[in-house]
Symmetry: C2
Subunit: 253 residues, 2 copies
């Protein structure tokens, strides 16, 4: 029996999310179906670092699985990719790891990026379902000032989904930064919100992005983020940003 650590890229658009569901296709099921084509696995099997929601993308998701059949790392990667065919999921790396490794419980830090395309009248087409489209410009300095209030250890009840299953609303945000990049192939102004923490509440980053966008628009002041945080009341924060702007970037172990 060999434990494998898989690093995974996916376009979340056609999936109900990472987790296997009865009512539609999931990333987990697609990978597990491919694995069963060339090896035997127990069911359910993949343990994942971040159970992303429907429509959320990943470029460095990590999951582990135990496989009986002896395989090289290259065989494990290529056979899984081969059997997924045209599904928008790829195994970027397969590494044989010790049986003590756990993709979810051993994660020390998780990194997410939220992408916004603003100051752009037309809907993005080459980047459709890859970035949150805001027609007007956003004040990035105000957003940075607002984001500072989210750093550190807080009760994040104001930025937590009603259906969140965590037993406590406290989390520690290790890093949050807002950057801009230019790419001649991406029309409009490109903004990224990068957030890192050991773990997150349900919808926490999308709720951060929704309220920081309101700060960028001037509908909220930067210091309103502090006030909202202190109320511990989800109804005081702004909208949940759409799933298609969010990317699971990587995990530190």
């Amino acid at each position: 029996m060999q434990r494998w650590k898989l690093t995974i890229e996916y376009d979340g658009t056609p999936y109900m999310g990472w987790q296997r569901q009865h009512h539609g296709p999931s990333v987990q099921q697609t990978i597990e179906d491919a694995l069963t084509k060339f090896t035997e696995i127990s069911d359910p099997c993949l343990n994942v670092a971040g159970r992303t929601d429907a429509g959320v993308h990943a470029v460095g998701q990590v999951a582990h699985i135990d496989i009986e059949k002896p395989l090289t790392a290259r065989e494990m990667q290529n056979a899984t990719n081969h059997h997924m065919g045209y599904a928008p999921i790829a195994i970027l790396k397969a590494e044989a790891v010790d049986n003590s490794f756990h993709a979810r419980f051993d994660a020390k830090k998780r990194y997410y990026r939220y992408r916004i395309t603003c100051n752009h009248q037309a809907p993005p087409k080459l980047d459709a379902m890859r970035s949150w489209h805001i027609r007007n410009d956003l004040d990035i300095e105000a957003m940075r000032a607002g984001a500072l209030h989210l750093l550190g250890h807080h009760d994040f009840s104001s930025f937590r989904a009603a259906q969140c299953q965590s037993d406590k609303p406290q989390r520690t945000i290790d890093d949050i930064s807002i950057s801009e990049f230019t790419d001649p192939l991406r029309p409009g102004r490109q903004i990224c919100i990068d957030v890192a923490a050991k773990s997150f509440l349900h919808h926490q980053i999308r709720n951060f992005a929704g309220s920081l966008k309101a700060v960028g628009e001037g509908r909220l002041a930067a210091d309103d983020i502090k006030t909202i945080l202190e109320t511990r009341d989800r109804t005081k924060a702004d909208m949940t940003a759409p799933a298609h702007g969010l990317y699971f970037v990587r995990v530190d172990y």
Copy 2:
């Protein structure tokens, strides 16, 4: 009658190319169909700077058209985008221009970018149909040395498609440069070949990209590009790179 200059983005994947065809959907037809929903146009009507092939993308294509109905620039842009619905085409800008402006004949310089993702075992998924995927790494310095031979005025018969309709094989390449960029959301090594010229032969940039990739792999030496150019024989150059890595970037008038 008002002449309009339209700047256009499109994902070329589902189209037979820019030009209206009998056997499938085209970018031209999709835009013209949208225009006829809110104004009267003569048929055929759109004059374009660069008639891109099937699968080629654009982020700054330019076309012009004459419209009888009085419209503001914002109305012209938004109504066209509205009537294109979910088609992966967007009008980025609509500008009222003088009747003497011609999108094709007045173009002084056209800019194309060819994207390659290399040193990456798995097929790109978030960037599927957006970049040419090469599993092995490429020697970018060798590619740069090879590209230098393509600069300037030459007979480009070796890099010209058999079906090219131009009456002469000479062109002047004003700029060709090869750059790298990193993007945490784009796994693998990202290489861009940027080429600028007043005009191009059919498949010229994709033929450049195919032979420069062979130089990057070490199958051709950088100086072989010079030799290939001098033979004026298409069979001496390497393969035509696939359409989905090519982007029409912009036009100078």
